[in-house]
């Protein structure tokens, strides 16, 4: 058992060392949410009707956090494809550790890296006129951790099906952009047509962002346009999805060719 904890620890440590060594990557991944928040958010706020009870830039803030987490968590699973291509995956697969600890280690690496980025974005709250207290700040980070773990495990699950970089990045772009647009990040889910609304409900990100909305706007919990589900449902869906993704991914790793 302790070997498995050691394995999780060292897999996370490795990813963190590499993350710190590649500071350029951090700048480029932070650029995307910043552009969406200020350019898209700022630009759209002129066109969107103001009946949400808050400026549009504030409304999309939880969505932008979700976006930061979505991209960095899911794309962190690219490290699995790199490890397969460069052979390092074999070093892990022949080790006497459970396949789940490899999956959990990888998922926690993705979680850590994307939470760091989400926190950096979160610290911009005063700039867009939000008021967030210390406890609230911690709750938001907790939710970010949960959502990041869920999405990182999804990324790993997808990565188990692919051996090379090209096909993986194609499929990722097919998944990530629709996941983002069908998540309530940029507009309330209730305003979508029924068919799209249904797809939104299948998307774990929707629930994560919904939960983040509860935490970012605690005073507005009653407002129908800011929340789509109850907080309990949001958290339950994220937790159940995480467990399911990790279990399937672990089973996929165990499977031999």
């Amino acid at each position: 058992m302790s070997t498995n904890f050691n394995a999780i620890y060292v897999i996370v440590a490795r990813e963190l060392i590499k993350f710190v060594r590649e500071k350029g990557k951090l700048v480029s991944t932070l650029a995307r949410p910043l552009i969406w928040l200020f350019l898209v958010g700022g630009g759209m706020s002129r066109m969107v009707s103001p009946d949400m009870g808050m400026p549009y830039m504030q409304f999309i803030f939880p969505g932008i956090l979700g976006m930061t987490i979505l991209f960095s968590s899911i794309f962190s699973s690219i490290s699995i494809i790199w490890d397969k291509e460069f052979g390092f995956m074999k070093e892990m697969l022949v080790a006497p550790v459970s396949r789940f600890s490899i999956v959990v280690g990888k998922a926690l690496s993705g979680t850590l890296v994307s939470t760091i980025q989400a926190v950096i974005i979160l610290m911009l709250f005063p700039v867009i006129g939000l008021n967030i207290g210390a406890v609230q700040f911690l709750l938001i980070i907790l939710m970010c951790v949960g959502l990041a773990f869920c999405l990182a495990s999804l990324g790993i699950l997808i990565a188990t099906f692919y051996e090379n970089f090209e096909s993986f990045s194609v499929i990722m772009n097919f998944i990530v952009m629709p996941m983002f647009f069908l998540s309530g990040a940029m507009y309330p889910v209730k305003t979508l047509p029924a068919a799209l609304g249904f797809l939104t409900m299948l998307n774990p990100l929707t629930y994560g962002i919904d939960a983040l909305k509860y935490m970012v706007f605690p005073a507005k919990s009653g407002m129908s346009l800011t929340h789509d589900f109850s907080l309990a449902v949001d958290i339950a869906v994220v937790a159940v999805c995480s467990a399911v993704f990790v279990l399937i991914a672990g089973a996929m790793f165990e499977r031999k060719k």
Binding site: S2, T3, N6, V10, F86, G87, F88, K90, E91, K256
Partner: protein, 328 residues
């Protein structure tokens, strides 16, 4: 006692039988060599033994544990140097070994000592904090071997361990490997293309197209092709030949102005020859049987030099470079 047992093992990839019903056993604390041309099925066999692949049929056990059904016990017992490098090039040499020590549950208080002594042994101690991407191919190879034994495995698999090494590093590595069974109680299972490299093995199996065509000690195999051949140029070949027959009981033949002598251990034989012929000797040339000779003898054909699989270009170029080197 046999620590590796393989019975009727087969592995099919679609219609290709990469491994086609092989059986062999490797004795504890010995070096077992798998000798065969490209595509013979060496790596596939290793992948099955180290739990990465499941066989189509047959069984493989390590220290009594089935590689399929008891993978985790097997994994605890083995160390592997894969044919293609599996280091993380972004990490330093020390970090790569440290990762391995954690993964294999080496007690934390021993990490530094073990890693430092392993790095010292392979002569990379002063480069330990350099990222592996700054290493040459040979340095990476040595680092991988060090990594493979840091957790003190019972069986060490080496898939072409000298791939890409210069002659001196190869010799050093072979010396190191040959001492492993005695020094650390490790059983070594290795693959190679080269008869000379197989010399340090206690047993060799020659494999082709997924089948073992012969299995024996290096001496037995060399005898099959007549062992080493020594070519002697002397001031008087006829006189030298009769002298050899008289003093040492060695038969020789004259071919193209040279005396042609067959011997099992040619290198050890040369000083004796020179001694007994005094100053008649003008030049001596030793020719060792190659895998190709054994192969030719057993299959009646030369080793197929087939096109390599895609993505193997680097490997192929290293190999052809090595072949050139070896012919010298």
């Amino acid at each position: 006692m046999f620590i590796i047992k393989v019975e009727n093992l087969t592995k099919h990839f679609g219609s290709i039988a990469a491994v086609d019903g092989i059986s062999f056993e490797a004795e504890k604390n010995s070096i077992f060599g798998f000798l065969g041309p490209n595509g013979a099925g060496k790596t596939t066999t290793i992948n099955i033994l180290c739990t990465l692949l499941s066989p189509t049929s047959g069984t493989a056990t390590i220290d009594g544990f089935d590689c399929m059904t008891h993978s985790s016990e097997v994994r605890k017992k083995i160390g592997i140097v894969f044919q293609d490098t599996t280091l993380d090039k972004e990490l330093t040499a020390y970090e790569n070994l440290s990762f391995h020590a954690y993964l294999y549950g080496v007690p934390k208080n021993l990490h530094k000592k073990k890693i430092d002594s392993a790095l010292d042994f392979i002569g990379l101690y002063d480069r330990k904090d350099d990222q592996v991407k700054k290493f040459s191919g040979g340095m990476k190879r040595r680092l991988e071997v060090a990594r493979g034994i840091i957790h003190e495995p019972a069986v060490l698999f080496l898939d072409e361990p000298t791939l890409g090494l210069d002659p001196q590093s190869r010799a050093n590595l072979w010396e190191f490997i040959s001492k492993l069974p005695e020094k650390s109680g490790v059983t070594v299972f290795m693959t190679t293309h080269y008869m000379e490299e197989a010399e340090i093995c206690n047993r060799i199996a020659i494999i082709d197209k997924g089948r073992i065509i012969v299995n024996g000690t290096p001496e037995e195999l060399k005898k099959m092709v007549g062992g080493d051949v020594i070519y002697l140029k002397t001031t008087n070949n006829a006189l030298a030949a009769s002298e050899l027959k008289k003093t040492m009981g060695i038969d020789s033949e004259e071919k193209n102005g040279e005396l042609f002598i067959q011997a099992v251990k040619g290198d050890a034989c040369i000083p004796k020859l020179i001694n007994s012929l005094a100053d008649m000797v003008l030049s001596v040339r030793l020719q060792r049987p190659t895998l190709n000779d054994v192969f030719l003898k057993l299959t009646g054909k030369a080793i197929r030099d087939e096109a390599q699989g895609s993505g193997d270009e680097l490997k192929a170029s290293i190999r052809s470079y090595r072949k050139k080197f070896d012919k010298k």
